[in-house]
Symmetry: D2
């Protein structure tokens, strides 16, 4: 029952902008990549098209605070922390830290938050929020609040 999970990723040239730093919107792609890897690690689908089953986790609110810029070729850890599990929604916190010679530096470069709601979709494509299934809930453990306080 994991309460945190992490991936390591390198800033690509295409992720920079003319200011020479990683464009702010790219942090959200990295959060989603970390979340997808987290779901793979616990053998749950981020999205499933099996009729009548969980279809997906559309975002209802996201945010990010930027403390210091990331640059091309920076190697970065993205850490996911389970902040809250509600009846129909889950809130993840994501922390970005650089690596130097394979060691994770303590400074938080950016911290984001994603609230996603569990939905099913009917044959007409209309999505409806639903309670998080028990087998999903069983695999989500809350991270200690101190681990993501800003």
């Amino acid at each position: 029952m994991p309460s945190e999970f992490s991936i390591t990723r390198t800033v690509e040239f295409s992720e920079t902008d003319m200011a020479g730093i990683m464009h702010f919107a790219n942090f959200f792609y990295w959060m989603e990549a970390c979340e997808a890897a987290f779901y793979r690690s616990i053998k749950l689908p981020l999205i499933s098209f099996v009729p009548g089953n969980v279809v997906g986790w559309p975002r209802v609110a996201v945010s990010c605070e930027y403390k210091a810029p990331l640059r091309f070729n920076d190697v970065v850890q993205v850490k996911l922390l389970v902040k809250e599990v509600r009846t129909k929604a889950v809130i993840f916190v994501f922390q970005f830290r650089k690596l130097s010679d394979g060691k994770i530096l303590p400074e938080i470069m950016a911290q984001g938050e994603v609230a996603a709601v569990c939905v099913t979709a009917g044959v007409d494509g209309v999505m409806a929020a639903q309670p998080i299934p028990a087998e999903v809930r069983a695999k989500l453990e809350l991270a200690p609040a101190g681990s993501y306080a800003r």
Copy 2:
């Protein structure tokens, strides 16, 4: 002295994801496009490389709440509202509303917020926050709080 500004834009195929809706990160590109058009409209640079002058407005915090999905070919108004002008930072609110037959529908599909800080960069590339120049400040008028309350 504008306190609001808007652009109209169409959801592209590449902006959708396998759930059939506009991917949540794309809303931030649209906010930035609206902000850039706003700066063009008031004859101010979003970013300038003239040495010693304003260099840019890196984001320090961004957020977005998603109320209803946007889909391929949806025509959408993005409205920028000046929420706050601090000594060294500005906060914009952005509202997304669909158009139908050229008329803006009242429903807010998504609402975002961007806090950007005014910086200069030295020859070493290091950025330092600076007070917003007077000629910029003179062109930013606060929107009424009621216009962006969620």
Copy 3:
């Protein structure tokens, strides 16, 4: 029966990279946006989910030659030219030219090509190429070869 079509678009900050120019991959998004607007203009769907009808036009081959860079805030015309209409596929050429004071400059900044095949998809999601429907074919006229020779 149009053989060409164009849109005008401004280079966004997020489309630049640390070299200060529009990232090369973004030209393909612009081509697709022009193609989608072209299909809207002739009242045909770029993609349709009506069962049994045309589903879409996946790309089988794309290319782009870059002659000169585009930069932030450049205003650019993307022109689509119908190069070839085969039984099951269509080939479009796209030309990128800058505008100055509302006038299109003659220099071609980039020229791309997209070959898309007409497919239907069964209920199992498997796509199969199909002859271009007559009502689509009737709306595609070849551009003169001289208009897109490099």
Copy 4:
């Protein structure tokens, strides 16, 4: 003196489109990521801002042929092959193959090509092509033509 190099990468949710497959433009980001990792592996910079030295490798021509679609969570090898080293330019071929249970499948899902020219940039930002420096040339070995024939 490597003539080929590869990375392995997973298709992210954000890289899909409403047709349920990886959007065609994303293949170019993967090619660039593979190229950047290749340069890191041979201790050469893909881009350098040291005045008077190699500045970068802007693309002059790119292309991609798509044989079969990639889908969310597919694990994919991108292999770079050095096709041609000219005086001022280099041409890479990239092949995309899926992995199954950690084994690379033989089928080529997509094959791309990138021609990049070696440039320096003056203090005015204007780029000029230059001969590939000897220390770079020394690290680029041609792949056998049979390895990338389509």
